[in-house]
Symmetry: C2
Subunit: 281 residues, 2 copies
């Protein structure tokens, strides 16, 4: 893995490094839930979002492929010039965080640890559920993270492959989605979890259905919100938080921007300007 | 687009070019329905299947990306040494066939024309339905093909984005799949189509559900079977058909073979040996 250096900044903008944008990266559109959570909590920050739409979805790809795709995106954002990188994609956070860290010069935060921390804090009984893509669940990353934070916790995981296509179809509160949710969440209910990590960036959009199926006693943990809190704390700690002015938002995708633009309107309720950066293949 | 030449065959096998395998290419696993149809009709032929699992699915990607991915696969199979290439993927057939033809030396057959031909022949009323991925439907390729074969035909198209994930989840005859099918196929029923092209390699696995929803008066056109008939006719015509012995089957994927192996067992009911050929990204 070669480490590409960011081009030297010959004329730093006023405010120095703190004025650089935060990079937010996902395999496609789902990371916009994380992007949105960051934008709401840190309205003064410039943000640059990269959706690797040429390779979406990551959740059914091998860890090796996810690692190669993620490194390439991190190198590209490093070259664009960012002050920190949020890996908004659960799958990439689960299987490729060390590779991403080797591919950039800036601090990197994934979504696994913030989500696990929030769940470990929220759970009374220590019985915690985690739902995500096949790759995220089979990586065991959330189970390890929760176990490290709260020894003795019992973690029940389930892959929910149909949830992402259902979100992308816009069926967020459709009877079909509820039937599918009842099927996938059966093991969670039987295990008696009292908190459930929505371990995929698309899943917060199914919060209504999942909440109904799980019942009121179960706390739903949205990694997006937890990650936004964590990146703000990090930037404060290293003196790079920006609090003045109104941040600008940029969007880059690795395949045709039309579909992204259409789904973004649905997901975050606004029109976005999207630029395309193609990788070699 | 550079055209890569196949390596010279220094020691041609007995039987010459006819003993080379037929290449069958798909974005992932779905093309195995076409592979299976060819294997049943031409048991003496060697077959080599390429599933571009690093880039699957094609159906939500841009025509440009599908063109680049498809060309790369065609060049690879050209280098492996094949006597003809079947583009089993409907999306690639719809948007990338000219690019694929420029990337190989051998005759290329897509699935659109065989499917359209079968539908044009089967329809009494001239009202024909076509279901497929977003990319296939919005390309208009089936509509043009049917129109060219049967002027005056009325074609009704519908994208069915959830069908592929439902097939890959194994829910071929699940109540959820039937509900989804009723939703997607509404426009077909209202248009009164008398034949319906299953315009995606995964869809023949939903034949039961789709048939039930459409009713007995509607002929379902499976491009897989039509394509197998067409490739045999082509090989006969150019004198490259092989009829002696038992063909060998090889499988190549561009990402980790485990998931492919597992789904292949489900789709064609047998264990397959899979080799991996990674592209640069």
């Amino acid at each position: 893995m070669t480490r590409r250096h960011a081009p030297p900044t010959t004329c730093p903008p006023a405010g120095g490094a703190s004025r650089k944008p935060i990079g937010v990266f996902d395999s496609g559109i789902g990371g916009l839930t994380v992007f949105d959570a960051i934008a709401r909590r840190m309205p003064a920050e410039d943000l640059v979002y990269f959706g690797d739409t040429a390779h979406v979805p990551y959740g059914t790809k091998s860890p090796d492929a996810v690692g190669r795709y993620s490194s390439e995106v991190a190198r590209h954002l490093d070259g664009v010039g960012i002050k920190a990188l949020v890996v908004a994609c659960n799958t990439a956070s689960a299987v490729a965080l060390p590779k991403v860290r080797r591919s950039t010069h800036v601090p990197v935060i994934g979504v696994i640890l913030p989500g696990a921390r929030a769940a470990a804090a929220a759970s009374g009984s220590g019985s915690i559920g985690i739902i995500g893509t096949e790759a995220t669940i089979s990586s065991g990353a959330y189970t390890r993270a929760v176990g490290g934070l709260r020894p003795g916790a019992r973690v029940t995981g389930a892959a929910c492959p149909l949830f992402v296509p259902l979100v992308e179809e816009g069926w967020w509160d459709h009877p079909v989605t509820e039937t599918v949710a009842r099927h996938y969440l059966g093991p969670m209910k039987r295990a008696g979890v009292d908190s459930l990590i929505l371990g995929c960036t698309h899943y917060p959009l199914l919060r209504g259905v999942v909440g109904r199926v799980m019942g009121k006693g179960v706390t739903l943990i949205d990694s997006a919100a937890a990650t936004a809190v964590e990146i703000r704390a990090l930037l404060r700690r290293i003196g790079l938080e920006r609090t003045d002015g109104k941040g600008r938002h940029r969007f880059i995708v690795s395949d045709g921007p039309e579909r992204f633009r259409r789904l973004a309107r649905r997901l975050i309720g606004r029109d976005v300007e999207v630029r395309c950066h193609r990788f070699d293949l």
